[in-house]
């Protein structure tokens, strides 16, 4: 095989590897974002900053919001045991246990709602935080990316 071909194959491999790193979670959002049963929300960094400017959040929360690079939310209004929800949770589980898996920060069950908060460190000291919430009527999958500490998350939840 010629050197040129080898170089091209290696470069394609490197580039695809670079893209795949961020794709596992994105793949879940891409798959379900346009399905009719789901509601998909995407807010970019600049828009989060704008929202925090106009919102009523206190200084601590605004500071944390300014360090979020993006937020995506998938909501399914269907019972937890429905086939759609089952497939959805299987895909989420695959995404959060794939390469560079997440660690569970907190989990709680109250009034039939079960919530898990997980995080992982990504490149450039960024953090991926996901919140998976299951209930009998509505399911949520939330993904926040930015420089968010566990303490800040805890404070956000308390307020």
């Amino acid at each position: 095989m010629g050197n040129k071909k080898k170089l091209i194959i290696v470069s394609i491999f490197l580039v695809s590897n670079f893209l795949l790193y961020a794709q596992t979670l994105s793949a879940v959002f891409d798959k379900y974002s346009e399905k009719k049963e789901f509601r998909y929300v995407s807010i970019s960094k600049d828009m989060i900053n704008l929202a925090s400017l106009f919102g009523k959040e206190d200084a601590g929360n605004s500071q944390m919001l300014s360090r979020i690079d993006g937020m995506k939310v998938l909501t399914l209004k269907a019972p937890r045991k429905s086939p759609t929800a089952h497939g959805f949770f299987v895909d989420i589980e695959k995404a959060i246990t794939s390469e560079n898996p997440f660690e569970t920060l907190m989990e709680a069950r109250d009034n039939g709602v079960f919530t898990r908060v997980l995080n992982r460190q990504t490149k450039n000291n960024k953090t991926d935080v996901v919140i998976v919430s299951k209930s009998d009527s509505v399911q949520h999958f939330i993904w926040l990316n930015g420089t968010i500490s566990a303490q800040e998350l805890q404070n956000m939840i308390k307020k």
Binding site: S11, L19, K36, V41, I43, S44, M47, A51, G70, I131
Partner: protein, 178 residues
């Protein structure tokens, strides 16, 4: 870079004067070993050309096609193109990644997209509030535990912090305990 390489590069770019070309030819023919063999052949072929009836274009094409495949300079060019293609792929990938990170806030509901920041923020807020509700209530139920640490301390330790006048008494209490 050797002087001969400089001359060859200039030769490739048609920048040589007649004097320099003669110099290059002389240097190449003086070289021993297999170095620059094809260039030697090229210059020999051009020298032969003056003596035979072979068309000049035929000789030129024949030699140049060999040069393109085998000579170090041609190899260098192939590598340059390969590196360029790698660089182009990386630029494309980064560009693609950059494009996907658009500045926007939107909601897709029932397959319909709404580019509405207020709606997007409202929906996200609603989802987060619903999702973290069990965590919030769990944390609230843990609040009383915060004061528990102080309550569990023996009274003589707790009082020493508040008032130095008690310290003497506390110390005596400690001594008497010991």
């Amino acid at each position: 870079m050797k002087e001969i390489d400089v001359l060859l590069e200039k030769y490739e770019n048609c920048e040589l004067s007649l004097q320099e070309e003669a110099d290059l030819k002389r240097r190449l023919l003086e070289l021993s070993g297999n170095e620059y063999t094809l260039y030697k052949q090229l210059f020999n072929a051009y020298a032969e050309l003056n003596k035979s009836d072979v068309p000049a274009a035929h000789v030129h094409n024949n030699i140049v096609s060999k040069l393109r495949v085998h000579t170090p300079i041609s190899k260098r060019r192939i590598f340059q193109y390969a590196y360029l293609s790698v660089a182009a792929s990386i630029v494309l990938a980064v560009g693609f990644f950059g494009l996907t990170q658009q500045k926007e806030a939107f909601v897709i509901e029932q397959g319909v997209r709404y580019d509405d920041m207020e709606k997007a923020v409202g929906c996200a807020d609603e989802a987060i509030t619903e999702a973290i509700a069990p965590l919030r209530s769990s944390m609230q139920s843990l609040q009383p535990i915060k004061g528990l640490e102080g309550s569990l301390k023996p009274s003589y330790v707790a009082t020493t912090i508040k008032d130095s006048s008690y310290k003497v008494r506390d110390d005596s209490m400690l001594k008497s305990r010991n």
